[in-house]
Symmetry: C2
Subunit: 112 residues, 2 copies
DNA sequence: GTATCAACTAACCTTTAGGTTGGCAACCTA
DNA sequence: TAGGTTGCCAACCTAAAGGTTAGTTGATAC
């Protein structure tokens, strides 16, 4: 009793998967940051200089969020002044090519 | 004179492409709506019933936005009560498979 | 003559995303 | 001892996204 119809369950499931996907890629800077980390791990200050348009706060916030999602990993070195490196996780590297292909959508829809 | 360095130009360009891409796929319901239109054009009321969680206002707003982006096309039939059908444009159909593959990201990152 | 239908529109509100500013820690150098 | 270095945090603000509710249209069925 109280069983949901199957279609409802399926719909909810695919919405959960979709939400997780969107969590990772949506956001003004998220994909951009991921692409910058694609070739190698970078220091925080390095990223700041690579993406000067993003504010400090938002950059840190996005790196934190991406780390919490398991897309990015953070390595802190106990030095002074501090050194911190951000890089893609194995999962992150796995989906990177798909994300890079995504931009072809923008190209297609920008064409007249 | 006043020429920007090449790296800056490249960066700005890829940000424009990225933004266009995100315009199309970002939003709580956008991909979900696109997927529902993937197999065939649908009437507005049909979509409402297929995605009962989205509010009327937001559904119409998203359909309008997707139409303005060239992802969706709207056909109005001059009947009473009105009949309106929404379907993917050729460009929309072209990128649909890539968008569908995207969800594998959500699946990967939901795995424990 | 009023109730119904589908596809909206308008007015309003709440939540989230993103941005600005200023400050702190802990060591090094001048 | 003052100032520079790097990576962060907190407080505050604005704009955008998303949600709720009510009303409009105009032929048709009751």
């Amino acid at each position: 009793m109280n069983e949901q119809p199957r279609t409802q369950i399926v719909a909810n499931n695919s919405q959960v998967v979709l939400k997780k996907t969107l969590d990772i890629i949506c956001g003004k800077w998220r994909l951009y940051i991921i692409f910058q980390l694609g070739t190698q791990a970078r220091r925080y200050g390095e990223l700041r200089r690579m993406i000067p348009e993003v504010s400090e706060k938002v950059l840190i916030q996005e790196l934190k969020a991406l780390a919490a999602l398991g897309m990015v990993e953070k390595k802190s070195f106990p030095e002074v002044p501090p050194r911190v490196e951000y890089g893609l996780t194995p999962k992150g590297l796995e989906v990177l090519p798909m994300l890079q292909k995504l931009t072809s959508i923008g190209e297609l829809f920008l064409k007249p």
